[in-house]
Structures are given as C-alpha cells and as structure tokens.
C-alpha cells in the first residue's frame, strides 16, 4: 500500500498538542515479576523472554525476522507522577538531571531497550537482553540498524569511568 498525502493532517489544522495518547501494541513477558534484580541496561542482561504483539497488529511484524536486534519502546507503568527532575542515579553519588540519565522516573515514563531478536512465531517475539518488568505495556517496535544507530563517542558525562568499557 502506497502512503500518500491523505495520510497526513493538513498543515493548517496543525496545533501543538497538550496531551498525546497512545494505545499499547503489546506486552512484555519477562522473568522480572518484581522490581528486584532487574538489570539496569539491556546491554548488561542475558535474560530471555518474549514480547506479545496484540493480534490486531500482527501484520506489522512482516519481515522483522530478518533483523537481529530491535528497539523496544515501552511505558514504565509503575511510575507515580510527578517525578523529581533531579535525583541520584544508580551508578553515581550525586544528583543529576532526569534527562541526563536513563531512570524510569521521568516526566514521560518512556523506556527504550535494544533487544536481540531470537525468533518470531505468529505474534510472539522471542528476545534476549531483557531489562524490563513483566507485564509492561509496549508502545512501539523498530528495527535496530547499526548504520543508523551506532555512534562512536567517548563523551559520556557523569558516566565516565563508572561503566565497564564494553558490555554486550
């Protein structure tokens, strides 16, 4: 199906939204049934599990099995808002701004994990590297493409010296 202009709103109707709402497209099945022991990053996890994509979205999975990794975007549904804008991250001993860390406790509690995609069966994605609580609502899946997504940099702010050089 070709996407055409009619799939866009009219520029004249464009208004900056106060609220933006989404419907979950799926749900995480992981071994992490409580908040204890969840790895702090997917790159540090060897935990396997699955992402159930709701059947009405199954057709959107076509060709995804050709990719070894995915971006999983999800909702930290356990977070109570509002959150503090600065707090002490796990790997550091002073407060930093919420946008300079990866904490779930964010003004918009959106999570981003890069997961290895092991297999797809019907509407189930079997994945590795899970760092996500069981029953977490999933918002989007995108293919991971190193040519688009890898950046070489050593400038990692307050994290300098506090993470192992290479974890993956």
């Amino acid at each position: 199906m070709e996407i055409t202009r009619k799939d866009l709103i009219d520029f004249k109707e464009r208004k900056f939204p106060k609220t933006i709402c989404f419907n979950p497209i799926g749900v995480i099945h992981s071994e992490f049934k409580s908040l204890k022991g969840i790895p702090i990053q997917s790159s540090m996890s060897e935990s396997k599990g699955s992402i159930e994509i709701f059947p009405k979205y199954s057709d959107g999975l076509e060709d995804l099995d050709g990719f070894s990794h995915i971006h999983c975007i999800y909702f930290f549904d356990m977070v109570k808002l509002p959150v503090p804008l600065q707090s002490k991250p796990f790997l550091f001993d002073k407060n930093v701004g919420v946008f300079s860390m990866r904490t779930p406790f964010r003004p918009n509690p959106i999570g981003l994990s890069i997961l290895e995609l092991l297999e797809i069966k019907d509407n189930m994605l079997y994945v590795n590297n899970l760092d996500i609580l069981d029953k977490t609502p999933v918002l989007d899946i995108k293919p991971y493409v190193p040519q688009f997504d890898n950046r070489e940099t050593n400038k990692i702010g307050w994290l300098t010296g506090s993470i192992r050089d290479k974890v993956s």
Copy 2:
C-alpha cells in the same frame, strides 16, 4: 532527592492500560518547515537546529552537557491514524511490516533520533543531525551511551545492500 518505593504505584493497583497519555516536554526547531527534503535518518543529516525544553522541565537538563549525543523521542503529530500495517519503505520496492521499518506512519507515531548535542544554553539544546519536522512535540530526551546502545550486527533484513556501509 532519593527515589523511594512511594514513587511507585502499588502492585495490587497495577492494571494494564488501554490508553497511555503524555505531555510534551519540549518542541523541535528545525529548518524543515514542510515534509519535503527531510533526511530519512539522523545519521544521514548534517542539519543543525534546536530543541526547546519547556521551562518547567529545565532542571532536568543538569549534567546533560557532558554527553556528546542524545536520544530524542518525539511524536509524529502530522500522521493521521489508523495507518496501514504494511507499506513500501523508501529504500525498497515491496511492502514490509510497519515494525520492520522506521516510517513515521506507525500505530503509535513515535519517533526516535540520535542527535549530536552541540551546546546547551538555559533550556535550549543546540543539536546536529536533525531529521525532524519543525514544531514537532518532544516526549523525552535520554543520554546516548555507546556502551549501552551500540550493537554489532550485519543482520539488517530487507535493508541489506540498500544502505551505505557507514553513514555517520
């Protein structure tokens, strides 16, 4: 400020959400005033611009200037829903599933771009590599950390052979 258990909802109250709503934390200022000529990936763009973080969230930017790159998560507000679950991507000549491509036309129109962070002045982030329409609502900013975010893989599905080897 230490985050404690009271910042979480009670597990007993946890219910899978039908709808998930967010408030934008900022807005994109880019040279792309219409949909023509927007680069298809941030890794292919040298366009500079800014992200205005709304003043109420400014304190969340503390220490972000130590990072050279950021993940910017935003809302494709021009997309009219529902979208087709399969369509022809820009770099290919057959239909593929929406979750195996990076099109804005997604069930939840969430965008993800990795941007170079040039400078922060007050609540303005000056950035490079913009591939985002002007006035786009921003949902979240996270630091980019290669030790967390880089994956080595050659398995890139239908994109194999259709993108330049290294673009960054």
